[in-house]
């Protein structure tokens, strides 16, 4: 027996509202690849990735066909590479980046994440060497994604690392100037980075994770918009939140089915499902569209932060009900360049940098895919990162900064990336100086975890 209404609803979600499995991410430990000789490290990495990931794309395509649900991206996340290259004599991290890039091409994944370092409380020699190699690594490869954890609620904010990353971001953008600084679009600074996030650019295989697992990222802002649009305009917030929870439940169970099937075929454990409303530039696939469906004139209107807070929370609640293994970032992403209506809101002056920052205190990630003038001083970028890290540190949540100082472009112009990365209007940034503050050096101490006011 079957229920025709349910079948039509499912098909409609996929066909009309862009429901998809945004990413299947093979998360793999490389800790057994360490060697004194960097060439041996490279060879070990290559062999290990080929062993585990050679069938990832084929099996993902099979499952896509069986359920007729698109699996948009196939990716790999590895142990932070700062740890893997550190024991080799010359710490030639760029060599490892090139190995990772080649093997990613060989197994046909679109990105490989984990060119990363965790430095919230200080640098090791390897961490420093990796961070300094990021501009060259990202400008000489295509598929590498890099992330650096600069802060946590337990450790505070490593301001030396914040300052260093502001310069690294500018340099990475400069080296990829002919593509509007695309290198910086593959580089993210974190506070409280999750160990099992399947989404790029921040995916890496955390230290406490198992040998290998499959993490799934599911999306569907269009499905959520459609569910809200079906409600009468005058429903109360409880009803609105319930509608979001119900649809989040449906999306999550579907994602878990696909994740478990694929993990089974690959003969590896299923890790987590990350239900994140991740927009794409396609029509109807917009988080800003959800704000409109909720009754705001446009993203950026007063009330947007409250709408996002409720959306983020309801998505998590629906997801938690659907699966015992919800992880990663889980919530709503607000990347500017990847969301057609966010782009529109910025272009029309409805959504400012400062409002976006406020929104990041309740969204699931942070300042994401924001283009700023190429001439923005690195100290100002350090100030932006420090603010975002502080929001995450105090609120005990993940926050991130993926910002692109677009070389030779300024406010009013567009940075064009294409594909999922989309295009970004260059946003105005506060021009007051942050120099003296960000150059104090050292660590912003860990916050108190009581007296929560």
């Amino acid at each position: 027996m079957f229920d025709a209404k349910s079948i039509l609803e499912t098909i409609n979600m996929i066909k009309v509202n862009n429901l998809d499995i945004r990413t299947v991410t093979l998360s793999l430990s490389l800790r057994d690849c360490i060697d004194k000789d960097i060439k041996v490290v490279g060879e070990n990495i290559r062999n290990k990735i080929l062993k585990y990931a050679k069938n990832l794309c084929n099996y993902a395509n099979e499952i896509e066909n069986e359920y007729s649900i698109p699996i948009v991206n196939k990716r790999i996340a590895v142990t932070p590479i700062s740890l893997i290259g550190e024991s080799s004599k010359d710490m030639n991290y760029v060599y490892l980046a090139k190995v990772l890039d080649e093997v990613a091409t060989e197994v046909n994944v679109d990105f490989i994440g984990g060119y990363s370092a965790l430095v919230e409380k200080g640098f090791t020699k390897g961490d420093l060497a990796l961070i300094e190699s990021i501009p060259e690594a990202l400008s000489s490869t295509k598929k590498i994604c890099s992330s650096v954890n600069l802060a946590s609620s337990k450790a505070g904010i490593n301001m030396d690392a914040v300052l260093k990353m502001s310069k690294i971001i500018k340099e990475t953008a400069r080296l990829t100037a002919n593509e509007d600084g695309i290198g910086a679009a593959k580089l993210v600074c974190f506070c409280n980075a999750p160990n099992d996030n399947p989404f790029m650019a921040g995916a890496f295989h955390g230290i406490g994770e198992s040998e290998c697992q499959l993490n799934i990222g599911v999306s569907g802002p269009g499905v959520v918009s459609a569910a809200i649009e079906k409600l009468p305009k005058d429903v109360d917030f409880g009803t609105l939140a319930n509608a979001i929870k119900k649809i989040a439940f449906k999306i999550t169970t579907t994602g878990e089915l696909v994740g478990r099937e694929l993990a089974n075929k690959l003969n590896i454990p299923f890790g987590v499902i990350d239900l994140s409303l991740a927009p794409t530039p396609n029509p109807g696939d917009s988080v800003a569209g959800i704000f409109k469906a909720m009754g705001l004139q446009h993203a950026g209107a007063c009330g947007t932060t409250a709408a996002l807070a409720m959306l983020n929370d309801a998505v998590k609640k629906g997801g938690i009900m659907a699966s015992s293994y919800v992880g990663g970032l889980s919530g709503a992403f607000i990347p500017v360049s990847e969301d057609a209506l966010m782009i529109d809101a910025v272009k029309k002056g409805c959504l400012t940098f400062d409002k976006l920052e406020a929104m990041t205190s309740v969204c699931s990630v942070g300042l994401d895919m924001i283009a700023i003038p190429g001439e923005t001083p690195s100290d100002t970028i350090a100030g932006i990162i420090a603010d975002e890290m502080a929001i995450g540190m105090i609120n005990k949540k993940t926050t991130a900064v993926r910002i692109i100082p677009v070389p030779n472009k300024t406010v009013g112009e567009m940075a064009i990336y294409g594909g999922l990365l989309g295009e970004a209007p260059i946003m105005k940034v506060n021009t007051l100086s942050s120099s003296c503050f960000v150059n104090h050096g050292g660590q912003i101490p860990a916050p108190i975890h009581s007296l929560n006011n």
Binding site: M1, F2, T10, I11, N65, E66, Y67, S68, T253
Partner: protein, 93 residues
Amino acid sequence: MENDKKIIVTVSGIDKTGIVAKITTKLAQYNVNIEDIKQSICQGYFVMFLLGCFENSNYSFKDIKSALLEVGNEMELEVWVQKRQIFDNMHKI
């Protein structure tokens, strides 16, 4: 898993003679047993849902799906062939 061999076929498009015949003939050729079927016409628009089981078929899911999509192409119909689990997972608590 019992459900692993069950498929839901959804066919929609402009109504014309022989849609059910062509789809079910193809299913019979591929030894897919029909366990349930619902069909209706709404403002000249044909919609059919069909639960099939290919437990005793020598053909794979992929073969069966391709064959049915081909019928869809020939008759200018939209045909979806999906394993049943996606509906069970999505709509049952």
